[in-house]
């Protein structure tokens, strides 16, 4: 039995470890266009800020220990689903019995004139931050395009490297995917205090300079000096090579509850997959690390023949900048008719908002009051009716004592 | 007004050992310790300290100790510090001085003036590790004579008895005066060891039903919780006429200790003081008592022993004689050192007589009147150790009741503040936060350990006397000798002075 995995990141690790739970003998081949040992993408901003020097996701003897054959630094250009062959750019063929497509996401870069100049980067790969690291210097003017999760992590790293940071965002608020207006304002305020300049409802219309970039022009006509430009708008599923194949793709590769795609023996997991979102009741691409691992693991188990069902997930995030931390999950801007619980303590920058419908939590946003949030995420996963204790969801020290006694005993003692 | 009552105790904290863990702050129900955030120090307000040592026991670095406030009054034999402070307190409150536990004043302790015999030469001592020792005790009315049929089978019907593996029972402590966890600990220990516990005036709480076969249910003047199921639930019934700590007055449970559970079990409103009337209002003569005794016997179809508990007072032997004739199966005599959950200090410290003298005189009188086998006598009133038990049996007791000793086994430090309901050891309180501190698993273990330890010691002392059955010691005054007692005391106790011949 040969398992082939396209992709060498989180979903891939989940798949390898899932396979090895059931099948210790089968051959596993991992293919990646990047030459690096498996690393954790979220750590690239920590590398850039010099908080960590090692960004690897698993130990250096990982492939040996799990008996995986890594093919690194070679891109996959096509998959022949009929013949069950993966075709590399070197024209090598890798035959598979079971295939996992875990190609992740690719950065979205608009057709901005000048985007090809030197010192213009994206913010996804290790090579990206290696480039940025060489290009920046103390006092450098850096433009970050996109005020989402990775964009602001880049901002944090750049500030720690003592750069002059300007952020340009298309939407009317930062962190639009995880925070509402009120919450976003709190974070924006905190970052502005650190010296970041924000241009909202704006975009970069042109990148100017000779060979290297030296300034950018915004849609609003502002001209801003720039030594480095970073596109951190977002990622879209990396599905280009599957465009003209029978593989069913919506925004991402569609998968069922066993992570199977529309083609037999072909599975998908991670940022490239579109799996079940239990909150909206439909499939959606949810590109977060825990999902990638869990989907990968489930795909791996199913690939060995051990049937495992993916119950679904929903967006959830834990992200922080300096001394401010955010946790959120579920819906951000829910429709009308939703019950809203809200608590805001401006002096401590504490913000808690919970959305409820018929006693079930649809989403929440917590800033700076984030302890034990996992309990609340667990309620969402299990569709628990929280009506009897909903007010306590807003308190800083929400805990098991807030739950009715029987429910608490069940959770804690399994009784 | 400004109080002139200076702290009884001083809290001493070793600053080099204090790690500011704040366990003492959390554990003191009297709020003695406070954490000062600014100075990062724990400070103590000694005026609130009652000397219960909870903080000392739980401090992980043993940084705290409690000492008597060394503040001195000018030396005065008549006007002691206690006498002066009591007046300050009454001048400031205008009320009765309440207290808990037993008489703490300097009256003679006769147990400590009695010495036990040992075998030498003529009567060999017995090694309890090698020979069987019979400690089994039966509490109940014994028949006048035994009749057998021609085959040797017993014809006489034996009245109901309580069978004890050791001659020690847990005395009456009501649920209300002590916590449910304390009751449960003692009930479980009595199951473990094979003895009995007493519900006191508090009624029988549902949680204690598993132990009801080992319970003596008490019928006191307030008749709290008394109904037909209650009477039939226990192994025996005890009519409480009085108790050693406060002869002449009834039980008192302060309203602070009447929470939801107490209210349900005693069938009284929450927060009200539960005061039992001094007399049973249906017992005004010995004939009335006889009537009640037989009414209760009828109610349980004569299947359980019915006894009477009295305080040891001046005329105790005549009273006991009357009670025996009234049909009681056992008489419990509670001496003036007996403990309580709440009593006026002056009554506790000045009323009643020592159990040693009361016991001896009751036993003598009943024997003289030929009534001794009709009742079992249970002695109570601060039995402190197994030697006290031996001496009590030698003076005539069938068994002893322990209460203070049992609570000390559970963790009580005798701070005498039971009446406030803020017992830090989870014993004399109803505050659920404090009650948790007494884990019934641990409490039951400690209480049974105590009984087992005393059991071993009693066997050792019996062995030393050359006796292998408790029956041989019962009322055997010859096994005791007095020391430092005057003629009268020796006469009442019925013992000779040490050094005298046979």
């Amino acid at each position: 039995m040969r398992y082939v995995i396209i992709g060498n990141s989180i979903a891939s690790a989940g798949c390898i470890e899932g396979i090895r739970k059931e099948d210790v003998g089968g051959e596993i081949v991992v293919i990646s266009d990047e030459p690096y040992h498996i690393y954790s993408r979220p750590l690239i901003s920590y590398w850039l800020s010099r908080k960590v020097t090692d960004i690897y996701y698993r130990s250096m003897d990982y492939y040996e220990k799990y008996r995986v054959t890594p093919i690194l630094g070679k891109r996959v250009i096509k998959v022949d689903f009929e013949a069950k062959d993966v075709i590399l750019e070197t024209n090598e063929l890798v035959h598979y019995d079971k295939l996992l497509i875990a190609t992740g996401g690719k950065p979205f870069v608009p057709n901005t004139p000048g985007a090809g100049k030197q010192n213009v980067f994206t913010f996804i790969k290790f090579d990206d931050v290696k480039g940025i690291d060489k290009a920046i210097f103390e006092g450098a003017n850096v433009i970050v395009i996109g005020a989402g999760l990775s964009g602001l992590k880049a901002v944090e790293a750049l500030l720690m490297r003592k750069c002059n940071v300007t952020v340009v965002e298309l939407a009317g608020r930062i962190l639009g995917s995880i925070l509402d207006e009120e919450g976003a304002a709190i974070i924006q305020n905190a970052l502005e205090e650190k010296g970041v300049r924000f241009f909202l409802e704006n975009s970069v219309s042109e990148i100017l300079g000779e060979e290297k970039v030296n300034k950018v022009r915004l849609k609003s006509s502002d001209m801003i000096p720039a030594d480095v430009v970073i596109f951190a708008i977002g990622v879209i599923p990396n599905v280009d090579i599957f465009k003209d194949t029978p593989l069913k793709i919506n925004r991402g590769i569609l998968v069922n509850e066993k992570m199977e795609t529309s083609i037999p023996n072909v599975y998908s997991a991670g940022d490239v997959a579109e799996a079940f979102d239990m909150l909206i009741g439909d499939n959606r691409v949810i590109p977060i690390l825990p999902n990638a691992y869990i989907q990968g693991e489930i795909a791996g188990l199913n690939m060995t023949g051990r049937e495992t069902i993916y119950k679904g997930s929903f967006p959830m995030n834990s992200i922080g900048f300096f001394d401010i931390h955010i946790m959120s999950a579920g819906l951000v801007n829910p429709p009308q008719g939703i019950e809203v619980l809200r608590r805001f303590q401006p002096d401590k920058r504490i913000y808690r908002k919970v959305y409820l419908k018929d006693g079930k939590i649809l989403g929440f946003m917590f800033i700076n009051s984030i302890d034990r949030t996992g309990m609340i995420v667990d309620f969402m996963k299990n569709n628990i009716d929280v009506s009897s204790f909903k007010e306590s969801l807003l308190s800083d020290n929400f805990g098991f004592l807030d739950l009715p006694r029987e429910f608490r005993k069940e959770k804690l003692l399994g009784v | 007004m400004k109080s002139l009552y200076e702290s009884d105790f001083l809290v001493i904290r070793d600053e080099t050992k204090c790690i500011r863990c704040k366990v003492c702050v959390r554990q003191c129900a009297n709020e003695v310790h406070q954490y000062d955030e600014e100075e990062d120090r724990v400070v103590a307000d000694s005026s609130k300290c009652v000397g219960c040592h909870r903080c000392v026991a739980l401090c992980p670095t043993k940084a705290i100790t409690i000492i008597k406030n060394p503040l001195e009054f000018r030396a005065n034999y008549q006007w002691t510090e206690r006498a002066i402070k009591d007046i300050y307190k009454q001048a400031e409150t205008g009320g009765i001085l309440l207290t808990g536990m037993g008489n703490d004043k300097n009256y003679p302790i006769y147990w400590d003036r009695l010495l036990i015999n040992a075998s030498q030469v003529t009567n060999p001592s017995i090694d309890p590790l090698r020979e069987p020792m019979e400690l089994k005790t039966f509490i109940g009315r014994k028949p006048e004579r035994l009749e057998f049929d021609s085959y040797g089978n017993l014809i006489t019907e034996i009245p109901p008895q309580l069978e004890l593996e050791v001659p020690i029972m847990f005395s009456a402590m009501s649920f209300g005066s002590i916590s449910i966890n304390a009751c449960e600990s003692l009930a479980r220990a009595s199951m473990e060891v094979g003895t009995f516990w007493n519900t006191g005036e508090g009624g029988l709480h549902k949680k204690l039903y598993p132990y009801k076969d080992r319970a003596i249910v008490q019928c006191a003047s307030g008749r709290f919780g008394v109904d037909i199921d209650y009477l039939n639930a226990g192994a025996a019934i005890e009519i409480k006429i009085g108790q050693g700590a406060k002869p002449g007055i009834g039980g008192h449970l302060p309203g602070e200790k009447v929470g939801e559970e107490v209210s349900k079990t005693r069938m009284i409103p929450i927060g009200t003081d539960a005061i039992s009337p001094a007399p049973h209002h249906d017992i005004y003569s010995i004939e009335d008592l006889r009537q009640l005794i037989y009414a209760l016997k009828e109610a349980v179809s004569y299947k359980k022993p019915v006894g009477v508990k009295i305080a040891a007072v001046h005329n105790v032997s005549a009273i006991a004689s009357g009670i025996a004739r009234a049909g009681a199966d056992f008489i419990a005599i509670d001496g003036f050192r007996g403990g309580t959950g709440a009593a006026p200090m002056r009554i506790r410290d000045n009323v009643g007589i020592p159990i040693e003298l009361a016991l001896a005189s009751v036993d003598t009188r009943l024997r003289e009147e030929g009534l001794r086998n009709q009742v079992s006598i249970v002695a109570a009133g601060s039995i402190r150790n197994s030697a006290d038990v031996i001496k009590a049996i030698a003076l005539g007791a069938d068994a002893v009741y322990i209460a203070t000793s049992a609570l000390v086994a559970l963790g009580c430090h005798l701070c005498q503040n039971c009446h406030t309901g803020r017992c830090n050891w989870g014993i004399a309180t109803q505050d659920p936060y404090l009650v948790k501190r007494l884990n019934p698993d641990i409490g039951a273990r400690r209480a049974s350990n105590l009984l087992r330890a005393w059991e071993h010691e009693i066997k050792e002392m019996l062995g030393g006397m050359g006796i292998n059955a408790l029956e041989s010691l019962r009322g055997n005054r010859l096994m005791l000798r007095g020391v430092g007692l005057n003629e009268k005391e020796l006469e009442i106790l019925g013992v000779k002075h040490a050094g005298e011949g046979i």
């Binding site: 989940g14 739970k21 954790s40 979220p42 750590l43 920590y46 908080k51 960590v52 996701y57 690390l289 825990p290 691992y293 869990i294 693991e297 959830m316 995030n317 834990s318 992200i319 922080g320 931390h325 946790m327 999950a329 984030i370 302890d371 034990r372 949030t373 996992g374 309990m375 995420v377 667990d378 020290n397 805990g399 098991f400 004592l401 807030d402 959770k411 804690l412 003692l413 399994g414 | 080099t16 050992k17 790690i19 500011r20 863990c21 704040k22 366990v23 959390r26 554990q27 026991a57 739980l58 992980p60 670095t61 505050d431 659920p432 936060y433 948790k436 501190r437 884990n439 698993d441 641990i442």
Partner: protein
């Protein structure tokens, strides 16, 4: 097959007295010294890994430790693999050298059993006292409110 642990620490809320001694001894166990006073006087003293739940006005308190789940969500959410299952014992351990304090583990732990270490900014979690082999909180609870149990093979 990976080795899992069936050891769990359970708290009996009926007899927990809220004294927090479990937290204090936990700090001692992870402080690198056997002297309690020394442990507390350390500048960067560790956070306790056991959480005592209590609320104003409630008489109920209890201690909560990591459940060392059979299916540990924290290890799957961890971005650095600092949260991992120890191969020898099956315990879930956080490698504090690797942890960057992103708190993804706190986001997913259904028991809320992971604590943020205020000083070192890393995730702090019960490790069943893997160094000494015997959980110090269970040994030192003054009211025997903590119990180390070994579950049956097939239970969660």
């Amino acid at each position: 097959m990976e080795l899992k642990t069936k050891k769990r620490i359970y708290a009996k809320e009926d007899v927990c007295i809220g004294c927090h001694l479990c937290e204090i001894y936990c700090i001692l166990a992870h402080s690198g010294t056997k002297d309690l006073i020394k442990a507390f006087n350390r500048v960067n003293r560790p956070s306790p890994r056991v959480l005592v739940e209590e609320k104003e006005g409630y008489s109920i308190t209890f201690a909560l430790q990591c459940r060392h789940c059979d299916d540990p969500l924290c290890t799957k959410a961890c971005i650095t693999s600092a949260m991992h299952r120890d191969e020898k014992t099956g315990y879930i351990i956080c490698d504090e050298e690797k942890c960057v304090g992103c708190w993804s583990c706190i986001l997913v732990c259904p028991y809320g059993a992971i604590i943020r270490d205020e000083n070192k900014k890393v995730a702090s979690k019960c490790d069943l006292c893997i160094e000494s082999g015997s959980p110090i909180c269970v040994e030192n609870c003054p009211n025997e409110a903590l119990e180390l149990r070994e579950l049956e093979e097939d239970s969660k």
